[in-house]
Point group: C2
Chain length 334, copies 2
Amino acid sequence: MVDAGVERLILVGGVTQTAQIDGISAAGKNPEVMVHTPSADLEIVEYGDTVLSPVVPVSPSGCPSPAFVTRAARELHGFELTAINAGLAEPTGTSTKTLGTQPGGDIRDTTPVPNAKDLFEDSKKLAQKLPDSAIAIGETIPGGTTTALGVLTALDGPTHVSSSLPKNPIKLKRDVVEQGLEKSTIDSATDDPIQAIREIGDPVLAVVTGLAKGALDTNTEVMLAGGTQMVAVATALRKLGSQGYGNQLEIATTTYISSDETAKIKESTDRISTNLLVTDPGFEQRNHPILKPYIEGEAKEGVGMGGALAIAKQNGIEMEAVRQRTVQLYEKLV
Amino acid sequence: MVDAGVERLILVGGVTQTAQIDGISAAGKNPEVMVHTPSADLEIVEYGDTVLSPVVPVSPSGCPSPAFVTRAARELHGFELTAINAGLAEPTGTSTKTLGTQPGGDIRDTTPVPNAKDLFEDSKKLAQKLPDSAIAIGETIPGGTTTALGVLTALDGPTHVSSSLPKNPIKLKRDVVEQGLEKSTIDSATDDPIQAIREIGDPVLAVVTGLAKGALDTNTEVMLAGGTQMVAVATALRKLGSQGYGNQLEIATTTYISSDETAKIKESTDRISTNLLVTDPGFEQRNHPILKPYIEGEAKEGVGMGGALAIAKQNGIEMEAVRQRTVQLYEKLV
């Protein structure tokens, strides 16, 4: 377990055109506004409100983005936010360290992340210089589990991913990945994570992997705050030779991911020898319509939610306080 | 007095080539590294450490940047930081909202801030959307008091400014401003603050003025955290028709500015009907070599120091704790 107190969440936002494939993501009211979701998520976590984003980040059914949960935990604990632009498509009112400006392409096309190597290297260099002794890293990118499946498949890693939809469109995702791999320079599999991300991944994966690598290399503990996208990152880290980190690295996720049978996250993290920390926000204990979709399997994770919950819990913050604040934040906004 | 609790410091960084004039600024070890100062200051306030900056921000005599004091107050109080890039010249490891990418020119040349209007308008729009009920706005720009003198002169406002040097090179500043005005489109004076900033100001003044205007227009209280540069901003706001704000606007500075006879800040703020809040960090009560230059009149203010001290004090934080933490932060780094 990452046991130094985590005081900073690095939140990496970007988009991939893969998210525009019909039925692949619930991270936005509809495909047209989905490109705003990461920009809006960063605003929610920084300000507890939208600023420049014209949309509030919700799913088609109206399920609030996990950004509200992360913000609630952040208000209660006070951890710092470092927002990173890995390739956003729309303006955000949040201050970001810009590591990339190019949105990721559709993985069915050739080379969806041409700048993967630069993104990785620049992120690594930044993280090597951070003064923190422990960091959490989260992500916000609609369509991210599909690109994660692409990278996991290319790396011959665990190939189970979750979904922001209650019913995981896993068949569709596998078809998309298969089409993408056919267009790629990857024959059957590769041991090069940067090649995998460049050919069948997304810009956020490049940045999160680079940040984690740079942090681990300089003895900073890393909490990967997320679900199966973080399994792809941890798999990439193992391929990069990061075998010996042991307790320095963990994935912190929610019970909604760990209880998702299609995600098989414990099986995956065991396979890649990475600790898994699961936190239960107990949404079923608060009978509220905006939390109900989570109980029914929507959203599940994202925007650092699992890590934010873990930080809150480790610091003695009651999950009831997180639930209450999440509802307040959302109701104030809508 | 701005009496709603200020929970956010918006820190605006940029450079002006005016700072390269020999003898005009102490905001950097020497003129070559001075261009790094704003980027480094933003890192100190965000991380308590340098990240990408190759230099620690100190004056030629070794006086630590006010950034350390602002960071100390921030650690003790916990206020949020929103860093803004108004035209930095060097990379920073701090996440910034980029409103400008163009450093300001030497005011002795024509039109040192060609994008003043855009900077002002974009900043105004951003601030109009911020959810906060009160904000502090600070600046970091070497040479900023000279450009402030330029704007104050052009606007026929109060024309006394302070200096980061123990002995204010006011004659040199007036000469520089005079040369600049001769090259400008301004005949004797103007009532248009954007024209004044474009012709004889700097990009940070454009952004701070825009942010303050947007905030005030949407009933957000504004604490201008700084010295005589903030007098230039408040003068610009008055010219923009912001007469009726009363207690919604104040300048929060340090005793080192209020006791600087060349700055005449109380006389200036009275003239422009703006409240002045002065906070004494009491550095003379802690006999420490790195605080001594402040007692002797160096640095005085900057990087939001006066506002950060005011926020700390208003929230019951002892100045002794701020002094202690300032020394610790600096010693850890050097």
